[in-house]
C-alpha cells in the first residue's frame, strides 16, 4: 500500500531572503510572505476556531504579530513553522474566549481504550468523491472534524492537511514528538471511524444517509 506523500515545499533559501529583506524594513518582501502563507494560516485558524470571523481576525493578528516580532525570529526553524506557532496560539486564544466553559488546551490528552479502536471495518467504495457532491462532502468533512478534541484536530490539520513534518508540528505546538504521533494516530482513527458512517460500502444501498 502506497504511503502518503508530503506536500512540495518552497525552497528555504528564497523564504530566508524575503525574511531578511522584511527584517530590514522592506514591506513588499513581507507582503510576499503574506501572499505565500495567508491561505494556510486561514485554513489552520478556521479548523481550530471553527468560526469564520475568528479565522479572519487570526489571519490579521498572526501576520501583524509576526511582523512586529520579526527581529526576534532566530531563524532556527522555518519562517512558516514560526508563523504557524503564532497563528495556532492566536486561534486557541479566540477559541477559549468563545468557549470559556470548555477546556481548550493542546495538552489535553483524552485517553480511553476504545477511542481509537476500530469498530467499523467496512471498506469505502465507491470513493467519497463519487458518492457525494463537493458541497455535501465539505459539509460532512467539516462536521466530522469539528467533533474532534482541539488537540487532536490541531495536530491532524498541521500534519495531514498542511503537510508539516512531525518535527515541525512538534516545534510549532510545543509538544514532544511522541505526543504528536500519539495524537495524530488517534485523530486519524477517530475521523476514519466517524466518516465510515457516510462512506462505507453498502451492498444494495446508495451509501447516503
Amino acid at each position: 500500500m502506497a504511503t502518503i506523500q508530503p506536500k512540495v515545499e518552497e525552497p528555504a533559501g528564497d523564504e530566508l531572503r524575503l525574511v531578511h529583506a522584511a527584517k530590514a524594513g522592506d514591506i513588499s518582501a513581507f507582503e510576499e510572505l503574506v501572499k505565500r502563507y495567508d491561505r494556510n494560516v486561514f485554513r489552520i485558524a478556521q479548523h481550530i476556531t471553527q468560526n469564520r470571523e475568528d479565522a479572519e481576525d487570526v489571519v490579521q493578528d498572526a501576520f501583524l504579530k509576526a511582523y512586529q516580532n520579526l527581529a526576534n525570529f532566530q531563524e532556527q526553524s522555518k519562517f512558516y513553522t514560526w508563523l504557524v506557532r503564532i497563528a495556532v496560539n492566536e486561534a486557541l486564544m479566540r477559541l477559549r474566549r468563545r468557549r470559556p466553559e470548555r477546556m481548550v488546551s493542546l495538552d489535553e490528552d483524552i485517553k480511553t481504550e476504545e477511542d481509537s479502536m476500530p469498530r467499523e471495518v467496512a471498506d469505502w467504495a465507491p470513493n467519497p468523491e463519487q458518492l457525494y457532491s463537493q458541497g455535501e462532502l465539505k459539509e460532512i468533512l467539516g462536521k466530522t472534524i469539528q467533533g474532534l478534541p482541539t488537540s487532536f484536530r490541531t495536530v491532524f490539520v498541521l500534519r495531514d492537511v498542511e503537510g508539516l513534518s512531525t518535527e515541525e508540528t512538534a516545534d510549532a505546538l510545543d509538544l514532544s514528538i511522541p505526543a504528536v504521533k500519539s495524537r495524530l494516530l488517534r485523530a486519524r482513527l477517530q475521523l476514519r471511524e466517524r466518516l465510515s458512517k457516510y462512506f462505507k460500502n453498502r451492498v444494495g444501498g446508495d451509501g447516503k444517509q
Partner: protein, 84 residues
C-alpha cells in the same frame, strides 16, 4: 504481529517513516488480516479526502481585503516593531 501492534505502527507506516524490516512485518500482516487492511486503506483515504477537500479555502476577494488590512496595520505599527 497482532492487530493492536499493527495499529500502533499505522501512522509511521502511512507516513513511510519506518525501517524495512518493520515495514515487511506490517505488510505480511496486511496480507492475511482483512480488518487491518480495511482500517489501513480507509485511514489513508481519510487523510487524502481531507487533504484534497479544499475545506476552508480563502476566497480571493476576502484575501485581498485581509492583505490590505494587514499591510495597513504593519505600516501603522512599524514603530512598535520588536528589537532583539
Amino acid at each position: 504481529m497482532t492487530c493492536s501492534e499493527f495499529l500502533k505502527e499505522l501512522t509511521d507506516y502511512l507516513d513511510g517513516a519506518m525501517d524495512a524490516q518493520t515495514k515487511a512485518e506490517l505488510e505480511d500482516h496486511l496480507q492475511w488480516c482483512h480488518n487491518c487492511y480495511v482500517v489501513c486503506n480507509t485511514t489513508k483515504m481519510t487523510i487524502e479526502v481531507y487533504r484534497e477537500s479544499h475545506l476552508y479555502e480563502l476566497p480571493e476577494e476576502l484575501r485581498g481585503k485581509l492583505r490590505s488590512a494587514i499591510l495597513k496595520k504593519c505600516k501603522c505599527g512599524g514603530e512598535s516593531k520588536g528589537q532583539s
